[in-house]
Symmetry: C3
């Protein structure tokens, strides 16, 4: 028996909107710890990892660990039917091949339940090794999204270079070149507007803008984004989900001379 | 000579937006009582009936009963050119084959007149028999529109079941099933937010969501919608037009075993 | 060396949005007087003239007159990457075949530079003779844009007729005819809402709505538009750019019996 009650149901709506275009089908794993997902994107270039910790749910019952295969497009269709203020409860009976999403309006006058068939999905859970990052950049998530979108009107890849003074995003395309520099800035009125660089070493890495733009669909989940960079290992683009967990996107850097997309 | 002056011209704009996608060509009937229309949709499945009573017009002159055939798409194009605060006057000379829509801005600084050629349209005026309905449901029109839209992302038809406790909308499709229950609720702050069920008998009927979704284009005309249900006769979905009349949509229920659309 | 610093960078963004669909490639001319452009639209029917006077820039350095050929679509793409509150600086080294747009955020925390290759564009600078206009019409720019858009849902051309009382815009199409009359009105609360007619002589001229609609993309630049009309010479549709200059569009009237577009 599984029953997870999330008062701030809009969080789950936003999570699905963040990942449904990147990943088609995926297993949601449910354990005493929380509700999580790990999946490669459909072209096997990027990886997404989601964690919603059990403490963040108003009610969390998970009698035994289960893995539920879902089509994220269909799940997103159902969650779109939840109001932004609705409480969402996810339910599954033991051994059932369906999952039910229940949406309760704040006044309890409208209650909807949507039942979806589960899928069998082959997936190996990748161990993501703990890594030491050369540079960790924390910046407003809307700013990062804006920069990725702007640069992709000029080129296909971005070089992210971090130094003590700030971070530079550069691209080059048929119509010209573009550089955007954000300076470290911790003296802002609101902490979520700060740009902070934690950096033992300068680093400069190249990424496909298409994937970064896809990651920025998680922007509504958090005011800030944390970008962890180290040469030769995938960048981590993390959006924290308040008091519940995170959604993390991993993307391997492109090799300098390589014009094709680097597959891991 | 026909001259109808409507101070709240936006009403007529909204009426046309409600019906132009459902009905291509129709006769508007003008008499001492009011300005009315009755038409089948282009696939002859649904019927729309409009009444704007003469008392609702600032000036209403209709020397003799006339029936004016109009293309609703063209009429809607012209009415889109009226500002939302404009006064709209509809004029036709006796024996003329054109109708004129005049739009006056509130300050009278801008006056537009649009002339449209009338059409000959064959149509028989259907007598709609007065019926006793098993269940009458009054609910916020935006809520009804939201439910029809949500369910049509899952299935093609909806079962509407009314009991003393509330109304249930159910659908089923390839990706799963959905049920939305709205409880009777008359203790709300604003009367237009109430859900009221007047019900001598429980009733459960099946309808094509495509038509219900089309009817909900009338949502801007009224905060509430009245849905009258009885087995074996068409549902009536009514939007009242404040102090003027109504727009009513009729749709025959689908027969249980019938997978095809039921034509009347 | 060229260096032009414009504090209100959004002006340059709006200028490009106004003309990029009308003109593909054009030379921007830079002199001690200001930054200007004159170009025919791609079908050689309309002409656009832009002037941003040097006094309107915070910093204006132009060591020698230069003409810089740019693709306006690409330039607009780059300027879209500037924030609405950004300061925009345009820079070019002597003899360089590139131009750089620098965008500074108001807090100086984000600085972007976009470099674009210049083009060689053949163009002859047309002398526009000073003309005496029969009628000069000043009206709210949003009203003019609305009328052009509304009428183009009915017909392809508009007859603009000016008399002492006001201005009439008329069109005719398959679905009917339309006339919009705006009365002279100088007693309004806000001067930008006035409709003023300066008119030695009545005039009535016919224009292609497609071009007028294109000109109205400049509406965000100014609350008012000035339309100067005279028989047999092109109309001038002018949007003033506060304290800096103007953007002017010229369009030859259509000859009465001529159903085809009149090329100059």
């Amino acid at each position: 028996m599984l029953e997870l009650r999330l008062v701030q149901g809009s969080l789950l709506k936003k999570v699905l909107e963040s990942i449904k275009d990147l990943v088609n089908d995926a297993n949601f794993d449910c354990s005493a710890t929380g509700f999580s997902l790990q999946a490669m994107d459909s072209s096997h270039v990027a990886l997404v990892a989601l964690l919603l910790r059990s403490e963040g749910f108003e009610h969390y019952r998970c009698d035994r660990n289960i893995s539920m295969g879902m089509n994220l497009g269909n799940m997103a269709k159902m969650l779109k039917c939840a109001g932004n203020d609705d409480i969402i409860t996810l339910k599954a009976d033991d051994g059932s091949d369906t999952v039910t999403f229940m949406f309760e309006s704040p006044t309890q006058d409208k209650i909807a339940d949507f039942e979806m068939r589960l899928m069998d999905i082959d997936s190996e859970h990748l161990g993501i090794p703990e890594a030491e990052y050369h540079a960790i950049l924390i910046m407003p998530s809307a700013e990062f999204a804006r920069i990725c979108k702007d640069l992709s009107s000029i080129g296909d890849t971005v070089v992210i270079s971090v130094t003590k003074e700030g971070v530079k995003f550069s691209t080059r395309g048929d119509i010209g070149t573009a550089n955007v520099v954000c300076r470290q800035n911790t003296t802002v009125d609101k902490p979520e507007e700060a740009t902070v660089i934690e950096m033992p070493e300068p680093v400069s890495l190249t990424f496909a803008l298409r994937y970064l733009n896809s990651f920025t669909k998680a922007t509504p989940l958090s005011n800030t984004v944390t970008i962890s960079l180290s040469s030769e290992i995938p960048v981590v683009v993390e959006y924290k989900i308040a008091e519940m967990g995170y959604i993390r996107f991993y993307l391997a850097p492109k090799i300098e001379e390589d014009e094709e997309e680097t597959k891991p």
